[in-house]
Symmetry: C2
Subunit: 371 residues, 2 copies
């Protein structure tokens, strides 16, 4: 291992799927022949790289070619929601191979939920006819603030019993490889970005569900902030609003425009009920969700002025209500931001939908394992 | 040149100032001996690297050592303000060696201002007894939006005649090396970060002067956004305010809390007049500036929720009024952001002060030349 991280250069050169010869890898990397040969030996031994036929001979024995093998190892991805647990096995490019979802309340506590996660993971491995030792690692999204460096929840409001719980340590007992944990909105942003907008440098992912949060992609990378609290837009004050929020402040976005706030106003139970009312053409529901879009838009207008993203993706359960939410949101964003920042701005619904979190949880691991 | 940018690895390994032998550079870089030798030859030829005595012998002829030579080339840095032109020569670490400032109005237009900039640059080179061919490049900060990739101002409000003017092309006629142009707040953020907070990952620089703007450092790098418009916080709406702004919207931060707004309210001419009133203990001025701090704080509270920086630096001419501005600003930021994001947050005055822009303009070039 050199101190400039050249150890992964050979693998990175193979990630585009094109087979390469030793000579091509030496030429493209600028690394010493002995360094490249050593890396190829290690990658062949791990199975991450496999022989891939021979290149055309230039006289003499034709040189061997090597390619990346994305199913050499698998990734376990988990999306832990307030009332569900979704688990998937992906390959090392993050493509979902097997999956399962069960209803499970996060307030059952970390032991119950993480036991279920381990069980679901092992069941998927059996279904795929693979061994736990084939796991490259596990990525987990949780519905609350997480200290990414330690994998521990940090005072999560809807997760009783989880505060500072060693999620990575618990899962590491039963699942080989690193365990990486982050909050659900960050991993949704990662999943949407990697899957639908890999070339976009600056993207904002907004989740509108029971709560409201954002994930910030800056320069192609997830911006977590100093304490991993970036994107916590649910408690930004909305212009002209003073309703008391459970956080103690007044006029917080989440108290005004979240699915929980709308459900209470429309006297229904869940965001799914709201989505169904909107789809059925209920005027009160459509008016309420359009107004929620405008309120969210006042906060996003400020985010657009500050960050100048080229794409705002709107996801989460309430985004499934469709155009009403986006229309209200676009109305305020375009009215309240300067033309330079909005001329080329796209405000779009999530393309990865319900899979955003699973794809992002897998991405956490893929990025660490294969760079 | 390899396609992974290993060309600069050798130079980067020498930037800490420690002399190195060929063997050390080969070992630390992981590059082939021939690659390292080729780079050293090129760096010696350019003067960027010079011989630096010999290491202790391990038997036989002692190996030569090499070190970075920061004055091999010089950087011309320019801070073009609304009513001043400051120019400096720096070495390749960004340290200011010579400088000059003249009063010059930017509304004289690009020909007059850029002629003056070239003249001031050549005068400094003569003072330093160096040739224009010693320039590694020129960095320029302008008081308005700039398309960084082309170096052209983009509809700048206070710069008549400058819109889309080819600043880099004009300066390149008379100054050797690349010409890099950015807006003044971005380069102040760069200068403050590089000089005073090089280890801080997430920093927000706020300039409070005739206008109000911010520079965003994310992951140690300047976040310019998709059109280079990031940090344009002057037109974010302040909670509960509806004054008409020149941009056509209402309640914009700049219309309420900038030096221009305060000067008009206090019936004085410039931000310097306001600073003097505050220093003289004028109650109206102190009350006004503290309230401006609170208004700016409402916008920064949202920025803290979104980005979770560890440092907010307050600079610009009005920051020289001292504690009153910072007190109002801290009051709102700490009241309106969640504890996770503010527990370790520092809100501090600029350490680089009037030099922030010059240091940042030099940094634009240093980062490109020596990585």
């Amino acid at each position: 291992m050199s101190d400039l991280g050249t150890a992964d250069v050979v693998l990175r050169l193979l990630l585009d799927g094109q087979p390469q010869t030793r000579a091509e890898l030496i030429d493209r990397s600028g690394l010493a022949r002995s360094t490249v040969n050593g890396r190829i030996e290690a990658l062949l031994a791990s199975g991450l790289v496999v022989p891939s036929g021979e290149a055309a001979s230039t006289g003499g024995r034709p040189p061997a070619r090597f390619r990346f093998n994305p199913t050499a190892r698998l990734v376990l991805a988990a999306d832990v929601g307030a009332t569900h647990l979704s688990v998937a096995l992906t390959d090392l490019t993050g493509e979902i191979l097997h999956r399962s979802t069960t209803q499970l309340r996060i307030d059952e506590g970390p032991e119950v939920v993480l036991d279920a996660l381990v069980g679901a993971g092992h069941a998927l491995l059996r279904e795929a006819d693979r061994s736990p030792t084939d796991l490259a690692g596990t990525g987990v999204g949780l519905p609350g603030p997480v200290e990414h460096s330690t994998g521990r929840p940090n005072h999560p409001p809807i997760m009783p019993g989880w505060d500072a719980y060693d999620v990575a340590g618990r899962l590491g007992r039963d699942l080989p490889g690193p365990v990486l944990v982050d909050n659900d909105v960050n991993i949704m942003a990662l999943g949407e970005h990697a899957t639908a907008y890999p070339q976009v440098e600056h993207l904002l992912f907004v989740k509108v569900a029971t709560g409201i949060g954002a994930g910030v992609i800056s320069g192609g990378r997830l911006h977590r902030g100093a304490q991993g609290a970036a994107g916590d837009i649910g408690h930004i004050q909305v212009l002209g609003r003073t309703e008391l929020c459970r956080c103690g402040n007044r006029g917080c976005l989440e108290t005004i425009a979240s699915a929980a706030a709308l459900a209470s106003r429309l006297e229904v139970g869940t965001s799914q009920d709201i989505v169904e009312l909107v789809r059925a053409g209920n005027t009160d529901a459509i008016t309420a969700i359009r107004q929620a879009g405008r309120e969210i838009g006042t906060v996003l207008a400020a985010a657009v002025s500050l960050l100048n993203p080229s794409v705002i993706v709107v996801g989460g359960s309430l985004a499934q209500a469709g155009d009403s939410l986006l229309a209200g949101l676009r109305e305020t964003v375009y009215a309240r931001s300067l033309p330079l920042a909005t001329t080329h701005l796209h405000v779009v619904p999530s393309r990865t939908g319900r899979d955003a979190a699973l794809l992002g949880a897998a991405r956490l691991v893929c990025d660490q394992v294969v760079g």
